[in-house]
Amino acid sequence: MLGFFIQRVFQAVIVVVVMSILVFLGVYAIGNPIDVMIDPAATQQIRDTLIRQYGFDRPLWEQYFVFVGNVLQGDFGQSFVYRVPVLDLIFSRLPATFELALGAMLIASVIGIPLGIWAGYRPRAFSSKAIMALSILGFSLPTFWVGLLLVMTFAVQLHWLPSGGRGPTSDILGIPLSFVTPAGWSYIILPAFNLALFNLGLLIRLARAGTLEAMSSDYVRFARAQGLKESKVVGLHVLKNIAIPIVTVFGLEFGSTLAFAVVTETIFNWPGVGKLIIDSIMVLDRPVMVAYLILVVLLFVIINLVVDLLYGVLDPRIRARRAA
């Protein structure tokens, strides 16, 4: 078990190192950040001074090691545009993205799980077929297009909700959050729904598949033979059986939802990390891009690692169950 653990952590570290090199090389290839940073009319002398100051005249490998050294001390450098430490910048935007992603996951589960259970409980019903069509739409409609329609319908045509921005926030434990006030709600509901769409489709499918499987099982038949009410059959036996895969996927998908927020945040002008990275790509704010990408890689490597280790822990129990 310990050997397995060490091996996986070692692999994860290697992946992070390799990815950091790739990210550094890739971002370096984008273009000369000096052009972005200074007035095109500046003299060659100012240019040279700046290039030397940022170390852009050094060999690439040297720049990389300086960068890694700084990162290990928690210093990702300064944003060329905002002139503040990159890490501070990203962390100041993180609560908005987290709140949006959590709201999206919440909407997806509150709507998706009951619909999926129904579609699995009555697979032949017309309503179930409509639900499955909805899930296909959730998968295949491009997020940005749905976001656009949402803005057009609820903001432009009906004037029910604001078209973008975050609106008023209230601090809880020093973290600015939207969901505290009704006005904050009116700002978060559209983008959160937009971001929820993919997970909604996914959860409908998962819950349906799990319910279908449980409904045809002997233990549901046995529960019915005991005279359990249908609500109890579904609420106890079926729900408990689909809970495990759903919780797993929930954890896995949270990372993707955070990353996917890029699109939704752009449409709704939501001041999160996603909007930050798009803006940074547009103006070639290199340190922000590098830091964001490395954090994302780190996030996914950790998620994968946790899943791997969890399976490793769960494995003997599963084996024991099969052997019994």
Binding site: R124, D218, Y219, A225, Q226, G227, L228, K232, K240
Partner: protein, 324 residues
Amino acid sequence: MSDVVLSVQELQTHFFTRNGVLKAVDGVSFSVRKGRILGLVGESGSGKSVTGYSILRLVDAPGKIVGGRIVLNGTDLAALDGEAMRRMRGAVVSMIFQDPMMTLNPVLRIGTQMVAAIKAHDRVSTALARERARDALALVGIPAPAERLDAYPHHLSGGMRQRVAIAIALLHQPAVIIADEPTTALDVSIQSQILAEVRRLADQMGTAFVWVTHDLAVVSSLADDVAVMYAGRIVESGATEAVLAHPRHPYTAGLMASVPSQAERGARLAQIGGSTPSLGALPEGCAFRPRCPRATEICRMMPPLAPIGDTMVRCHHPIGEARP
């Protein structure tokens, strides 16, 4: 006979598939008295299990009960509405299934499943329900029943699980228990323990059993009466000793000849030639005709179920009568 608890009359259960109507159960009648065990014998596909499910009205689509009466303690189950039928299940008639691995929900504790079964019919506190559950486990001979309540099914052996299933079926002391091959998946020694337990419960508590099985050895050691099914119909029925001592229907005789214990050591086991006909393509008249050594032209007409001695036989040329 006033102590008849279950009387099935002309039961018809058909499956409406894309390839036509399959008459899985086609006019089956039998009755069971208090504390007695009826063995319902047949090969797979003979309709014996569907008969069992039909009694609890747990036939899955596309199967449907299309005719007949199922009179349980004076109530025709076939005429009840859904909620009234639910109240009967588990309370007046209950069921145990073939595979003890599958009939208990793997992710719920034994106690949780038993409490749910008790609360399906009685409004009692959870504490009281747990006490009753514990007593029920003790009744079927499970050691340390209080601790078993907190166990998951995979902690128990196959035989123990089947005892738990029987305990659950007995919770409300139903008049009849339908048992669908409940010992087939168990070791022979465990099987005989469970059979002895069932015999004791039937005698002590007066519970009647319909024991669905393909195993004549089980029937001979357990059942008071036996009904042999072939292709959706009963072909022979009567007291177990009478039928097994003097099988009248060629199919019953063939079944018995293929049981190893009946054959001489070293001799080749007899087989019934041919194979079970598919329900979609039954021959006209007696369904056993193509495989029957005694078949003649008259067998193209369906023989009636008629009394011969102490047994009822559906055959134009029963054994013991000279061939024409």
